[in-house]
Amino acid sequence: MSGRSHGWIRWFSLAAIAALFIAIGFLQMRIEAETRTAARQREELLLHSGPVLKRLSLGYDSLLGDIYWTRTVQYFGGRVGNPGEKFQLLWPLLDLTTTLDPKLIVAYRFGAIFLSEPMPTGADRSDLAVELVKRGVEANPNSWELSSDLGFLYYWHLKDYQKASAAYLQGSNIPNAPTWMKMMAAQVAEKGNSFSNSLAIWTELYDSTQDAKVKKNALVHLQSLRALQDTRELDKIAQQYHQQNGRYPASMKELYDRGLLQGIPRDPAGFPYAFGIDGKAELDPHSPIILPQPWESPSQ
């Protein structure tokens, strides 16, 4: 081999380098798959103390906060759908993220939903969610969204309608806050848990968020609430029918033929409702919608 790099040696080197890069890329994927199964959790959070990490980061705390935020997203996304998943590290990760960068509003909003949602959707810790969002409200006095999230948490999970109303009221006084917040404060104080309130709150959440997962979750809740509303309406019609005819309707078509319905009603996912044995309206078995839990359902 000659000392000077002739043309073909250069090309050979380049080809070798390219081939090696490809091999390295694949090997890296294998290594990561390998270490995922091992106990990597320990290494994810070497330090649980936010303030300590903040001091250690030598002024680059908001960058580190961003990094921890992406790790939170990855952590969550990687575990969603695991049976029996408790998302145990979600709170510490969010805690660290927001300690490092207290102005990272997306993190608070994410935690508001997924810390409080019951399993398997979230960590089922509404108390931690409230703590997180309260911190967020304090650190970001100009964010009406966080006040709205606090109101949501009190209304939906903690069922404390006084505190919920207070949160909405406080948020409504922030400049640029939307006008519905004042109305919501009043409605919640007056009626507590109701269809209109729940629908309104989830709708506002759906509209105001930019996070795809949060949006999707809100949609699920909206659809579920509407479905509940629909089934209750249908139940009423069935009761009337029962009173008139001595038996419950066998199908929606029967009601339609009698002119009591304008069409075959469908749920928000597009699947038709049906009547069960005791005349209770039910969702189609193929429908992805799940009716709300009893504790979530408004009485009226």
């Binding site: 081999m1 000659s2 000392g3 000077r4």
Partner: protein, 319 residues
């Protein structure tokens, strides 16, 4: 015809100079040269002529812009060629944390010599360059002259057929220079080829079978020292005394130099008799008439002067 020891064909080296719009400076311009086996060949030229550049190209320390070269039939691109050559760089730098012995052993190892062979060679060549006592001294403690000797030792310890020396006499006292000359003669007696660059012309005249003269990157002439200088026109030197109160002939007054009471003048060979006639008519007393053998130095200075008069062409970078 036997393979020449060194064959250089059209060797050219351009250097980019300047940062924003680099121009090319040509430090070697189509050098073509042939050195026969067993010759002592001198490579002459003033500083900056391109002598060291040529040697670096031959060693593949730098790469030529164009042209080829072969040593003992092998291209300079062939790493095996290096087995048959030795090289002493201009200002030898060696690993100063090693002793002389360790350095030579390291190089001997690179050639693949076995342990016993290595030891023997290192001892032998340390003696040959006069460093027998300093073998175990760390190189950082060596004087320049001692480093030069180590350099010579590492250039020849593997019995190469062609030895390249870049300014081997530089920095040496007369004793050291004589020792180098002796080594070079010895190498020639062993049938090896020596190619060395120098700007000390008297050394070249004494040692070399042939010389090449390089000025401004261009080859100016090649041949035996005698051949080169014989291209010059001979002059005659006249030493004379004027008569007391006498005047110099007008034609000679300008060129005559005075040393004590005597005058010295050089005239071209053709004008010798007319000059003598003028002196005779002035009544001057002729002391001696000597034909001047021009030296390599004269040739040299003429070339440099001629080269300075012609401005070096600078080329813009072509992409």
């Amino acid at each position: 015809m036997s393979t020449p020891a060194i064959e250089i064909e059209g060797l050219t080296k351009d250097y980019p100079v300047g940062f924003w719009r680099p121009r090319l400076r040509r430090s070697l311009d189509h050098l073509t040269l042939r050195v026969e086996d067993g010759e002592i060949f001198g490579f002459l030229g003033p500083n900056g002529a391109g002598k060291t550049t040529t040697l670096k190209v031959l060693m593949s320390i730098i790469y030529p812009t164009s042209g080829t070269a072969r040593v003992r039939g092998k291209s300079i691109d062939d790493v095996r060629m290096h087995r048959e050559i030795g090289y002493l760089p201009e200002q030898p730098y060696f690993y100063d944390y090693l002793t002389a012995r360790e350095l030579l052993e390291y190089y001997a190892r690179l050639f693949g010599f076995r342990a016993a062979d290595r030891r023997e060679r290192v001892t032998r060549f340390l003696e040959r360059v006069g460093l027998a006592d300093a073998g175990d001294l760390q190189l950082r403690k060596f004087s320049k002259g001692m480093l030069q000797r180590v350099g010579m030792a590492q250039a020849i310890l593997h019995d190469p057929q062609v030895i390249f020396l870049d300014e081997p006499m530089s920095g040496l006292d007369p004793v050291g220079r004589r020792e180098v000359r002796d080594i070079i003669h010895h190498l020639k007696r062993e049938g090896r080829t020596v190619f060395f660059s120098t700007h000390i012309l008297s050394d070249a005249e004494m040692l070399c079978d042939r010389v090449a003269v390089l000025v401004g990157g261009k080859l100016q002439g090649v041949g035996a020292p005698a051949e080169i200088v014989s291209m010059q026109v001979h002059a005659m030197e006249i030493l004379f005394e004027t008569q007391v109160g006498g005047a110099l002939p007008n034609s000679l007054a300008k060129s005559a130099t005075q040393i004590g009471g005597r005058y010295r003048v050089e005239v071209p060979e053709q004008q010798l008799y007319s000059a003598l006639e003028e002196l005779r008519s002035c009544g001057a007393r002729i002391l001696s008439v000597t034909p001047l053998r021009p030296t390599l130095e004269d040739y040299f200075f003429k070339l440099i002067a001629r080269n300075k008069a012609v401005p070096q062409p600078e080329q813009a970078v072509s992409r």
